[in-house]
Symmetry: C2
Amino acid sequence: MQIQEIGRNARQASLELGLVSSTAKNDALNAIAQALRKNQDFILEANQKDMEAAKKKGSSTPFLDRLMLNSDRLEGMAVSLEEIAMLKDPIGEVTGGWKLANGLRINRVRVALGVIGIIYEARPNVTVEAFGLCLKAANASILRGGSLSLHSNKALIDVINQASEGKIPQNSVQLITDTSHEVAEEFMSLKELDILIPRGGEELIKLVTEKAKVPVLWAAAGNCHTYVDKDACIEMALKIVINAKTQRPGVCNAMETLLVHEDIAGQFLPKAIEALKAKDVEIRGDSKVKAIDGSVKDATEQDYYTEYEDLILAVKVVSSNQEAIEHINKYGTLHSEAIITKNYFAARKFTAGVDAACVYVNASTRFTDGFEFGFGGEIGINTQKLHFRGPMGLEALTSTKYIIEGNGQIRE
Amino acid sequence: MQIQEIGRNARQASLELGLVSSTAKNDALNAIAQALRKNQDFILEANQKDMEAAKKKGSSTPFLDRLMLNSDRLEGMAVSLEEIAMLKDPIGEVTGGWKLANGLRINRVRVALGVIGIIYEARPNVTVEAFGLCLKAANASILRGGSLSLHSNKALIDVINQASEGKIPQNSVQLITDTSHEVAEEFMSLKELDILIPRGGEELIKLVTEKAKVPVLWAAAGNCHTYVDKDACIEMALKIVINAKTQRPGVCNAMETLLVHEDIAGQFLPKAIEALKAKDVEIRGDSKVKAIDGSVKDATEQDYYTEYEDLILAVKVVSSNQEAIEHINKYGTLHSEAIITKNYFAARKFTAGVDAACVYVNASTRFTDGFEFGFGGEIGINTQKLHFRGPMGLEALTSTKYIIEGNGQIRE
């Protein structure tokens, strides 16, 4: 099918979806969850084809792990749809309302965004979860997954379509099966898209930056910092630093650079470096860090810009809270930043001065997450400043509409 | 100055602006208002140069009217700044907050967007008003006006900078004085821009669609409809239709197409056509309209897509509310749409089924406006669905930041 036709189908489905009841959407989500369980063999067989082809191509072990489906993972997808079904429907919420002097009554009502495009790499679970969130917020979705997961994605979409037939409009979700570069570029300019959400690595993000002609919501990278202030509680700082770096190093809200005030560095850093090394973390420090521990490697300017997503940590000694703030505003990616301090004024200065979606006082940056925040789901973390900044839950997949009721008002 | 340097300056100013008090911002706005009055001769002299050059180039009368400044118009700019000073400061508002089970306290706080780029044509008043709104919301602004208004814009920015020196950070507003096409393109890709707002005609919008690599908020076109339902009050419908078409035909919220239910067309259309013709409106109708009044011109498919911004109106007879909704969703630009009806169910169906920023029942579409809505100012009408849809007041120039306070929480 031509991409233009997919766009028109999605637009039509989105207009119909706006009128579908919560009950019908939830029934569809629950039916699909059941169907994923019932059609396990069919789905795993398709995934096996993808896995074999990916192995033949020499794909990396982490790649194969993301691509791989099994009984547990399918059950996880089914449960995620059932959880989405249980979330409160965001559509129809009145987010504000007032009356004008001339008697006009204005209500601002939450509505769907319309048509959402999602472009992602080889993770079949995104196919199910992204569709589920889009549907709950009454959006039609167009999915374009990686070429190496095509069999898995086709099987999942088949199951979704069969199980939801008659419950939700036709073409509520469509998969782009031509995974060529050309079609991906056409997709990024498709005028029916109200929004494009890219989920993937730097290469994808670069391509979308260059080629997209529709509004984009970034589920983007995080170069996150923790600043240990001179008035930090050292035990608390140690606990948080270890957690932020090592609890799950490969994710966007993990710490990548540790900043330490010079007045506390002599006390704190030896303990911190020892504890981090015990967790296999490679430390790269500036000259002041090396003066404390000669065994650490040199940190270059490039290190401070790097999101390692690995057991590597850049460390820098700073002479003030202000220097920490300036470092973060220069090298950070506006994601998640933390200060560890007992000092009220230091906390206040840091939270006001740092420009980021999430600024923490005395807690691990690892909490930046739609589930942790209580949104019940997440489509990604938005590090741009438009629309919903930070973790994006169901509400981020909605817009609003003003409904204005009068009795003959005209403008004088 | 190089555009990259302007970007870095603006980013620095934006970080400082986030910490400036409401009082300081308001003092600056009021001081600039006074300075505009005091430096009237200086500004009008510069404007005179632009006017002469524009006349020599053979610019149109409406263009010259938009470019022209005089004592009254300068006073209007000064008053608009004083009004912006009186608005409530949006920065710092807590837009939500809750506590997690683990004790983390989350507050979502309104902050500035950061750096706002505005690209516009030859209207010097935009220079002052856009700067004023950006400043109030603690944003640094970079302005790129049309080449034919360069002397006027330079004079206005000089006055702004002199009057606000020491009150707000340096480079809170910067003017791009190289009005070449190349620099405009560089501007649209400037990585320091948190947002670009184009204000202008179709050509500008096309250029921005093609070239922009930063998030864009559209102050865009409106192809607005009024649907007269079979259960309309005819007197009310006449009053609203005349107002929506003729009160100010050149603006984006004026009606461009009138849809009339076939059951009421015979009664309503002769009166409407007579009243519209009396106001010099040219009518273009479909065959059913022409059957009622043979003197009207033919409406083509293209007419239904056209935003005339002029005393021309397309008219179409429809056989149902549903047909009206479908026509609007096909030809409309998601701006402002109205139904005229006494029927509760018809109103409900129309407001739910029409996809637009503003949907009216029994009122003129001309009310879609930040001032009319009570926002105290307006940077444009957003017809895309991200961020703040519809009239954009001060809040649309803000983002939010999550501040998360803990006492040592780590993620398990």
